[in-house]
């Protein structure tokens, strides 16, 4: 891997704080496991053999480096700005999720644990976790909201084919938020032999830092690829933000490049003003959820409010604490994209480039249309094409009224 000059961590302390955000708000029972995980992560990061093993997996299993696509026909709709797509959709299992999962699966082995548990919303992280469990011979249990197991039946079948146990969660709103609660309860009970393979840059320290470290390869590669292709840095880097792992992965290596705008696109659902959305930074307030302090969708009593999005993967009422911090210091901007805007961009990419994106990713593409039109000709936008849309064919067909 090329030497990366922008890898310095922004963490202000060993407790995993990003300004006032981050930290650990968890039952005491989990502290020793979080400490163990943090130690394993730090020692792995300093160990060349760990990096060699992970790089080999990237090269021979998941398919890295992912390519950069110059989306010329799509660009015509974006005010003539040049749109470059970082193709994480081409990874094994179909999204960026595999980057983090392979890293954490290696850490699980290093910690001597034999069982992984994971939460999943759309099923992408669950599928990636089940995949890594099969590859490494680990037992795998995936918690998934009962409502989501019905919406994403295909991914439930994929996980089962890969040998994982899928547990439908019937508590609360029966979605991703409750799947995380249930995974935490499993972890509290079985922490001795079990690693909680959290799928995003949220949760208690060290998850936000560690998951970012495993995802930042997206930005490291893309930065070199854009420089090689265009001879300069992009004007803006765009990514969709649910929990925020694909965005953190592509943003982080650009944080030191002050001239590069970092823009996160949140799920605006039916519009932030409607109350039916998952735009946590745009429409939420600082609070505590799932072990970390960040922006949260919550009511006046600190109770979590259910989120809404056409995209199951962005349908989450929290967001990674580092995003909250980047927002507050003005280093990154966050905008909501409505369901309709996202589906328009989804269709446009299908027809102009022959790429069916995940509906999550379509939010970033809609952002590209908006920002491209603001910046106009001569601007270059780097978009994280975080996942492919095979899993969304049914939802999209229903949205566009296609007979199935």
């Amino acid at each position: 891997m090329a030497i990366d000059k922008t890898s310095q961590s922004m963490d202000s302390s060993i407790l995993g704080h990003f300004g006032p955000y981050g930290g650990r708000f968890v039952p005491e029972a989990l502290i020793s496991a979080l400490d163990q995980l943090n130690d394993a992560h730090i020692s792995a990061q300093a160990d060349p053999s760990f990096h060699a093993e992970l790089t080999e997996l990237h090269k021979t299993y998941s398919g890295r480096p992912s390519i950069l696509t110059d989306a010329k026909r799509f660009s015509e709709h974006a005010g003539g700005a040049r749109i470059l797509l970082k193709r994480e959709d081409l990874n094994h299992t179909g999204s960026h999720k595999i980057n983090n999962v392979l890293g954490q699966a290696l850490l699980t082995k290093r910690m001597g644990k034999s069982r992984i548990i994971a939460e999943t919303g759309a099923g992408q992280h669950g599928v990636a976790s089940a995949t890594a469990a099969a590859l490494f011979g680990l037992e795998c249990v995936v918690y998934m909201g009962e409502a989501d197991t019905k919406r994403q039946a295909l991914n439930v079948a994929r996980m089962k084919l890969l040998g994982a146990t899928v547990v439908p969660v019937t508590q609360g709103s029966k979605t991703l938020k409750d799947a995380i609660n249930e995974a935490m309860r499993d972890w509290v009970t079985n922490v001795e032999d079990t690693h909680y393979l959290l799928g995003t840059v949220a949760g208690p320290h060290p998850f936000p830092t560690m998951v970012r470290d495993f995802q930042r390869i997206i930005g490291v590669e893309a930065r070199e690829q854009v420089l090689a292709l265009t001879g300069k840095l992009p004007d803006a880097v765009l990514a969709c933000v649910g929990g925020g792992s694909n965005a953190m992965g592509i943003f982080h290596p650009f944080i030191g490049d002050k001239a590069v705008r970092l823009i996160g696109l949140e799920a605006g659902g039916k519009g932030v003003e409607s109350g039916f959305h998952a735009a946590t930074i745009s429409g939420g307030t600082p609070g505590v959820l799932h072990g970390t302090r960040s922006y949260v969708l919550q009511d006046k009593d600190g109770q979590t409010i259910e989120s809404h999005s056409i995209s199951a993967g962005l349908d989450y009422p929290g967001v990674g604490p580092e995003h909250a911090y980047l927002n507050d210091i003005g280093r990154a901007e966050y905008r909501p994209i409505t369901d309709d805007q996202a589906m328009y961009a989804f269709s446009l990419l299908c027809k102009s480039e022959g790429i069916i994106p995940a509906i999550e990713t379509a939010h970033a593409l809609a952002g590209a249309l908006e920002i491209g039109n603001e910046l106009g000709k001569g601007a270059t936008l780097l978009i994280n094409l975080s996942g492919r849309g095979d899993k969304d064919v049914q939802t999209a067909a229903e949205y566009f009224g296609l007979p199935l």
Binding site: F25, E28, A29, M184, R185, V188, Q298, G302, Q303, T304
Partner: protein, 267 residues
């Protein structure tokens, strides 16, 4: 000045017995009925009350308390009902504390929350997901209002970390009997006694054991080595099965009486 809770532990120490603490989420199944349930617990012999602030994402709780909390939230229970019930419990004449996840406290404002507990006559707050590392603000606000800060210690808490947590506790130290969430269990884990023993080497603050205690036999066993026994899910289960009418309340009082006998016959 010691809190009512601290006075209680002093008194029971002199009597050579453990304190029996009953837990109930505020507003379960309704606000009015939760008052009647607490009254029945106290009439049966519960020494102190822990009132749960029902929260949308209770990761430390098993299915019984989750369902009760969900029901209370659906009934519109919020901070006003929590403090109303706390006040009622104190008026019934027993030391009372609130158990709350951190999110509702932070949203309400730590200073305001501590003041409201103190104004209602409450003795302190149990914070199951507030780590000592994130406690700076709560420490100063709770000390300011002279209320107890009660943290949970787990069997997995390391020897090195144990004194750091136990030294932050006042009133009592909440020892989680086993690795897991709240709920009734067929037997109390053997890790409970060894955890209590470990805590005692680090602190003179009383130790109460929670998680999984549901009957007289278990209460007797735990009371033989701990300063307090906390029972929650077993009471809630009675209401879930029998309702909060006359027969449900009778069963609550009966269980409280059995548990109370247990803590008195342990040593």
């Amino acid at each position: 000045m010691p809190t009512a809770l601290e006075d209680l532990f002093t008194k029971t120490k002199a009597e050579n017995r453990a304190v029996l603490i009953g837990f109930l989420p505020a507003g379960f199944p309704t606000q009015k009925e939760s008052k009647a349930i607490i009254k029945a617990m106290i009439d049966g012999g519960v020494d102190a009350i822990e009132i749960g602030y029902p929260y949308s994402d209770p990761v430390m709780d098993g299915p019984v308390i989750q369902a009760a909390s969900e029901q209370a939230i659906a009934n519109g229970v919020g901070v006003d009902q929590v403090f109303d019930l706390l006040k009622t419990s104190v008026e019934y004449g027993v030391p009372s504390v609130v158990m709350s996840y951190w999110s509702p406290i932070e949203k309400y404002g730590a200073a305001k929350f501590a003041a409201a507990v103190s104004d209602a006559g409450g003795s302190g707050v149990v914070t199951p997901d507030l780590t000592i590392e994130e406690s700076e603000l709560w420490k100063s606000e709770a000390s300011d209002k002279s209320i107890n800060r009660i943290y949970v210690v787990a069997p997995s808490t390391s020897q090195e970390r144990l004194p750091k947590v136990s030294s932050e506790c006042s009133g009592f130290i909440y020892a989680a009997s086993s690795m897991g969430v709240t709920g009734t269990r067929s037997r109390v884990s053997i890790s409970a006694k060894s955890l209590v023993d470990r805590i005692r080497t680090t602190s003179k603050t009383p130790v109460a054991v929670g998680l999984g205690v549901s009957n007289k036999e278990q209460a007797t066993e735990v009371a033989s080595y701990a300063d307090g026994v906390i029972v929650g899910s077993a009471f809630i289960k009675i209401i879930q099965e029998h309702g909060a009418g006359r027969s449900g309340l009778k069963k609550i009082k009966q269980l409280a009486a059995e548990l109370s006998e247990g803590v008195r016959s342990a040593r």
